[in-house]
């Protein structure tokens, strides 16, 4: 039995008769930071929605930490942390209450101090007692990420989580995620358009075009690109054109 954190086999998903994802297979090993790239509307968010069980796939299998999401969603979701879109956060709850709900749902007796350290570094602590309704986009984004990290999940799924964050907070978050992966394993699946994350932090990357994985960069390839100081932007553009 493999010890992959995330395993997706022949995933097929869409909306009604419109197929968005076709035959997607991928796996994330412990310590992997996997970046999904691709043009708008290629299916990145749909793929993440399937992993977060926000969308029911029409075919294929998803295993999180060795547990099937379809057969045992409760156990699979215990291993998952998903940062929802900031506008999906409950407007009439305070940030503290949102954290309490996530911790309660994950059956935690307390929230780990590591999360509060990150909240402090992100300068989020003063907003804990505020209603989500009154927060700016960036602050809501920070809250969404903090919620994803509640309970120290094995798999962290982030959909364009760096949008709206100021450069200092984005750097803090990137470093935190990298350190977290290096320290305690786990995996991060991130959909983004910013290539600097691939260049400096990610272990693996892939381009999704028209619902299919067009090209994948493995660890050693990315390391080589970094070592050669190669232009990753050009490599991505070339992969998109081909």
């Amino acid at each position: 039995m493999s010890n992959d954190i995330l395993q997706i086999r022949n995933l097929r998903a869409g909306y009604g008769s419109r197929v968005v994802l076709e035959n997607i297979s991928m796996s994330l090993a412990p310590g992997d930071w996997y970046v999904l790239l691709g043009p708008n509307g290629c299916g990145k968010s749909t793929l993440l929605d399937c992993v977060a069980s926000r969308l029911i796939a029409s075919g294929g299998e998803i295993h999180i930490g060795g547990v099937s999401l379809a057969q045992n969603p409760y156990e699979a979701k215990r291993r998952l942390g998903y940062a929802c879109a900031p506008e999906a956060l409950p407007a009439l709850l305070t940030a503290r209450q949102c954290l309490e709900v996530h911790a309660g749902a994950k059956d935690l007796s307390a929230i780990d101090g590591d999360l509060f350290v990150l909240a402090e570094e992100l300068k989020f602590t003063p907003y804990l007692e505020l209603f989500v309704d009154t927060m700016s986009l960036g602050t809501r984004q920070k809250l969404a990420v903090l919620l994803a990290l509640v309970g120290d999940p094995l798999l962290i799924v982030l959909d364009e989580a760096f949008n709206g964050l100021d450069p200092a907070s984005a750097l803090v978050l990137k470093r935190h995620l990298r350190a977290r992966l290096d320290r305690c394993g786990g995996a991060v699946l991130l959909a983004t358009h910013s290539l600097d994350i691939v260049e400096h932090y990610a272990d693996r990357a892939a381009i999704l075009i028209d619902g299919r994985l067009q090209r994948e960069w493995q660890k050693d390839e990315i390391r080589r690109l970094r070592a050669d100081n190669a232009d990753f932007e050009a490599a991505v553009a070339q992969a998109m054109q081909s």
Partner: protein
């Protein structure tokens, strides 16, 4: 053709396109329901033709008061709609579009006057039906329609003399939400309890003070002269209880939809979430029903009737809340 004409009026064009996108293929069932509804209305009108004739005659006798009331109501509603629509347009995605002044004026006029036009058309339909079902009073019906329509038109014109209210520019949804003031930060306790407060907060956020005050005004106006203060207070309290229920149940429904979307990726059982969201709502419904029973009893209704009324309200309210909250995961709908 309609696109070319509407092209220069972005708001009307948008409304037309939204309507066009929502339009579905005409279905036999829909037409059958409409036909059945029309037949039912015709049947009721025919059955009540004598009373309708009497009503038309009564309205003709009091035409000045009726027209005046129609005029005042139209003036207020058109003025309010104008203020609201202008504020919406100023912040909408179409606000930055170039638009000729004359065209903008016509577009605004059409949008602001739309309800008044609809009222005139509806009155025409009603009084035409009255004239057909009771031919003896067709002249009364025609006269009443003409006067009421005149009143509506005069009110629409008079609305331009009503001054605009002071602008309120606060973040949407935040004005009436209570602000929590906590002196010392308490420890974070993992719990789903906060989900239970959500419908209540939404209810309070929707029950804006102005709205509540205006909703109570008709009750006060309609109170017969000679009503005692105690009875008046009881009636208002009953009205408030009804308001709480009519705000709380829709709030619970909206919250359940949001909770479903938010908690989908969390390892939480539907029954657990259901318990947390629905139980406080049902507790409040039960409390409101008990208050209703007590108020009825205080107003002189027999204990048995008051008790039955309270129980009935609690049962229907709880059933409605339970049936309406949609916490089961749903498949995502196909986009248009």
């Amino acid at each position: 053709m309609i696109k070319i004409r509407l092209g220069s009026t972005p708001r009307l064009m948008t409304a037309h396109l939204i309507r066009f996108n929502r339009r579905t293929r005409p279905q036999l069932r829909g037409w059958a329901i409409r036909l059945a509804g029309a037949c039912l209305v015709a049947l009721v009108l025919y059955g009540e033709r004598e009373r309708l004739a009497q009503t038309a005659d009564w309205l003709r006798e009091h035409i000045l008061a009726a027209s005046g009331l129609a005029s005042i109501a139209t003036a207020i509603s058109v003025a309010r709609r104008r203020v609201r629509k202008r504020a919406e347009f100023a912040k909408s995605w179409l606000a930055a579009l170039p638009l000729r002044t004359s065209m903008a004026r016509w577009e605004a006029l059409l949008i602001e006057m739309l309800p008044a036009g609809a009222v005139v058309a509806a009155l025409a339909g009603i009084f035409f039906a009255v004239a057909v079902s009771a031919p003896a009073s067709s002249s009364s019906a025609l006269a009443v329609w003409a006067c009421l329509s005149g009143g509506v038109a005069a009110g629409a014109i008079a609305s331009y003399t009503i001054p605009n209210p002071k602008p309120v520019d606060l973040p949407p949804g935040s004005r009436y939400v209570p602000r929590r003031r906590i002196a010392t930060a308490s420890a974070l306790r993992p719990s789903l309890k906060a989900l239970g407060f959500w419908p209540l907060r939404l209810m309070f956020a929707r029950a804006q003070p102005k709205l509540v005050a205006r909703a109570i005004l008709p009750v006060l106006v309609l109170m017969p002269i000679g009503t005692s203060a105690a009875t008046a207070m009881c009636v208002i309290a009953l009205y408030v209880v009804a308001g709480v229920l009519s705000l709380l149940i829709p709030a619970a429904i909206s919250v359940s939809v949001s909770v479903r979307a938010w908690t989908a990726p969390l390892p939480v059982r539907i029954s657990q979430v259901m318990q947390v969201v629905v139980i406080p709502t049902i507790a409040i419904i039960a409390g409101a029903s008990a208050a209703e029973g007590l108020l009825l009893f205080a107003m002189g209704v027999s204990l048995r009737t008051a008790l039955a009324s309270g129980l009935c309200m609690a049962f229907i309210g709880s059933l409605a809340a339970l049936a309406a909250v949609q916490l089961r995961p749903k498949r995502v709908r196909r986009p248009p």
